[in-house]
Symmetry: C2
Subunit: 499 residues, 2 copies
């Protein structure tokens, strides 16, 4: 398989011989891959967003039925890429085949779920409503009004490295924006540039087959910050969907704040996804739970945004701790997605190792020097409350077990938590009933509260919420997963009177 | 009637003898009013937001039924203030009694409309949904999920000068935030400080009668910018509702952007509310329409945010122009709300008078030197398109009549329009059908599109949208009027599994 290394702009693969050149990285061999990718030029970025705006206007005249078919065709074309997609991504990410096949299916299904909502003319979103007028009302007649929704325009999408399909080029943000009636310009993630190129071929083919306007989708290759910053500065961009780190999100927000026109920035960042284990549950099921938690953490080698990073467990419960130590020690080492992520992981685990209040409970084997091995640290809840640094996400296979003695201590720690995507609370029926205050406090810290289940796995459905209070996301008002994600890219219009 | 001049913070009227002292202004006599009002201190602002956060938590345990009664009690207490409220506001604004009585009724009804939604446990908002799990699904069981909504926390509200009741202390933002379950800290508008004090007495009395937590509502008096900036910087503030000018909104946004935690800023600013008169309609009903438009503009002496400021009319239509000139010349002069607004009005009308491409069509009489008289200017659509300054809102009784020759010219001008709260399009049935492209273009520029009706009058109902693309508002995603305004102050929470 050969790759062009080019950006795809309004139906064309465009060269830029003057810019930065970069290569994909193969975590499995710890070496750069041979294909050269070309940084998109400033002019090409403007060209993409202008073409997207023009295509957006044309897309308006295309029925929901046709848009639905288009989304289904994109899904078909992803599958039609065949095994080369999986193989390419395995090279670029070292994620195992089974995981990637599962993620591909999720990505394809996600497109089909949005296609279904379009088939039903957005009715499942329950947005629109209408009220009759009343000419006879005094002192002022009541006007006839109807609330309808318009797509916001061009959406810029920034994919993530950890979900090369589901949260990347043709992931949730792109699918929901296209479903909402928007045009999309993707800044491809440089950790999987060849995967981006293949996915772009799939949508390019769907655009052609469904006779959609060319500018409806563009993909910009690049590894330099300035490319991202220019994209969010483009006047035609009306919303941004982003999945990535807090640092990158804050940098982009700073640029967005320079715009004359404010636009929404939907940054889905990360979190430590607190796991709260109540006393009876811990006593009865602590051992089993520990294994479940380690296996949840091991998914994607700790690189899921919902990875369970901080576990609050009763201080006296040795069952849970013993089982967790065993499970960690049985977790094989593996690569992380990029050399940058590996470096950050090593920095964070070293810092935890050196932290006075923290001790290393267990460490998995390490078979290669560029692998990350699983880590489980522990600390006392009083030390956890004192040092906010202990709340920081370690991206990779690492968790901090925090020992509490009383529910008062636990409540204090929850009150001090930063915003989280999820939290799980494990309890027997009776103790969950008794801890209403604790659950209330926890609810205000998270976007999703989970009873007695692990946090990994984000169902694509109507009642999902994937987001949460800052810093887990930059906009607590909406979800990046599930059908309601479409509402991010819609805005209300009241129509008054009769046409 | 004597006024304390103090801020009301968590159940107490608090003094600050070290700060700035200011007085209300009486536009009717062009003189300052005697009562002295005291700028709230920095410490008091923090005290108010901290108390609001504490009250917000307590408010959570209060049922929707009780909250509903609370909103109805606030409405009752506003009415119980009696005529002193109307008289006080007449002094501070010079708005006529009938208008203020109408606005009071609207404000009271607005509270009752939100109370109704609460009686129905928010069901009319159609937000929540739930999905059953499926343990048997392969390869992964489907979790049981439900989407519910939480209030965001403390809301800071900035009232407007032009609607001293409906968009001020106990206006739409306060009502919708309290209905959503939030606590409110109002920065009172310094153009009607005594009105603010009376309204605060009404809610203080309702808080007492309904045994609500003290910190649920605070009102900060102040006329200095720093007070507003500190309020939006407070960490406990989780959203801001604002009605006012673009300049003030941009300044507050700049401060909000310095926060560690991004928060939504709902700024409802202003617009010129384009009036598009199609050719047949103009020929048949131009004369009547002109009178309607002038009378719409005369509401609040041109100080409604939906005032019709730019009229696109067929160039050959003398009926409309003649009738408009007559109506303008019959419009009595009147005061504007503040000396600052009067100065800005005079600057803007002078600039239009001196503009090469603009001519003065008509001017109303001027009976006092501190009055504003009605102005109607005109220009050719080609000049309008060339100079974006001609799109700027003149706050006060002023409109610009823009003459077009063809629908192509009109479409070009609409494409060049900035975001607007509303636009009206006046057409006979047939020509409205023919101008679908024009209506489509117009829809993307506005928050509300109105068929053959004047823009003033914003119905408080479920299907209203009051907002629009920037710069008419800072956040196109939601409305500041109507029951859906509650959703601004709510955010999703997914509950997964069984408690």
């Amino acid at each position: 398989m050969t790759f062009t290394g080019l950006s795809y702009i309004a139906g064309q693969w465009l060269e830029n011989n003057q810019g930065n050149v970069f290569q994909g990285f193969c975590p499995g061999t710890n070496e750069y891959l041979p294909t050269r990718f070309y940084e998109v030029s400033d002019e090409q970025i403007s060209q993409a967003t202008d073409a997207a705006h023009a295509a957006f206007k044309q897309y308006r005249s295309i029925s929901n039925q046709q848009r639905s078919e288009f989304l289904n065709t994109i899904a078909d074309e992803i599958l039609a890429l065949g095994d080369i997609l999986i193989e390419t991504t395995m090279l670029e990410t070292n994620l195992p085949r089974q995981r990637l096949e599962g993620e591909r299916m999720r990505t394809v299904n996600q497109l089909r779920v949005f296609a279904d909502v379009l088939q039903q003319d957005l009715a499942p979103l329950k947005l629109s409503c209408a009220e009759e007028g009343d000419e006879t009302r005094t002192p002022i007649p009541k006007p006839k009004t109807a609330l309808t929704y318009l797509p916001v325009g061009v959406v810029a999408v920034f994919g993530a490295s950890n979900f090369p399909y589901a949260f990347s080029t043709l992931g949730g943000d792109t699918a929901s924006a296209l479903a909402a009636g928007c045009a999309v310009v993707v800044k491809a993630h440089p950790a999987h540039p060849a995967t981006n190129e293949l996915m772009t071929k799939a949508i390019a083919s769907a655009i052609e087959k469904c006779a959609m306007p060319d500018g409806l989708f563009s993909m910009l290759q690049g590894s330099e910050h300035k490319t991202s910053h220019q994209l969010v500065s483009e006047p035609m961009v009306k919303a941004v969907g982003f999945t990535g780190s807090l640092g990158a999100a804050n940098a982009l927000l700073k640029t967005i704040h320079q715009r004359v026109e404010p636009i929404p920035f939907y940054g889905e960042l990360g979190s430590v996804n607190p796991q709260i284990v109540l006393q009876d549950y811990s006593q009865k099921q602590g051992g089993v739970l520990a294994t479940q938690l380690v296996s949840s953490m091991a998914m994607g080698h700790g690189q899921f945004c919902t990875s369970p990073g901080v576990w609050f467990v009763p201080s006296e419960d040795d069952n849970l701790v013993d089982a967790a130590i065993k499970a960690i020690e049985a977790t094989p080492s593996d690569t992380l997605l990029t050399p940058g992520i590996l470096q950050a992981f090593n920095r964070s685990t070293t810092a935890l190792n050196e932290h006075d209040a923290v001790s290393l409970l267990a460490k998995g084997p390490q078979t290669k020097d560029y692998h990350a091995s699983a880590h489980l640290f522990s600390c006392d809840i009083q030390d956890f409350v004192k040092d906010v640094d202990l709340q920081e996400e370690v991206f990779g296979p690492c968790a901090l077990l925090v020992k509490y003695r009383s529910y008062d201590e636990l409540l204090l720690a929850i009150d001090g938590l930063a915003g989280q995507l999820t939290a799980s609370i494990y309890g027997e029926t009776q103790e969950l009933k008794e801890q209403a205050k604790l659950i209330e406090a926890l609810s205000f810290k998270v976007g999703r509260i989970i009873y007695s289940q692990a946090p990994t796995g984000v169902e694509v459905c109507m009642s999902m919420n994937h987001g949460g209070p800052f810093p887990s996301s930059t906009d607590v008002r909406s979800t990046s997963v599930g059908t309601k994600a479409m509402t991010r890219f819609l805005r209300p219009l009241c129509v008054q009177g009769d046409q």
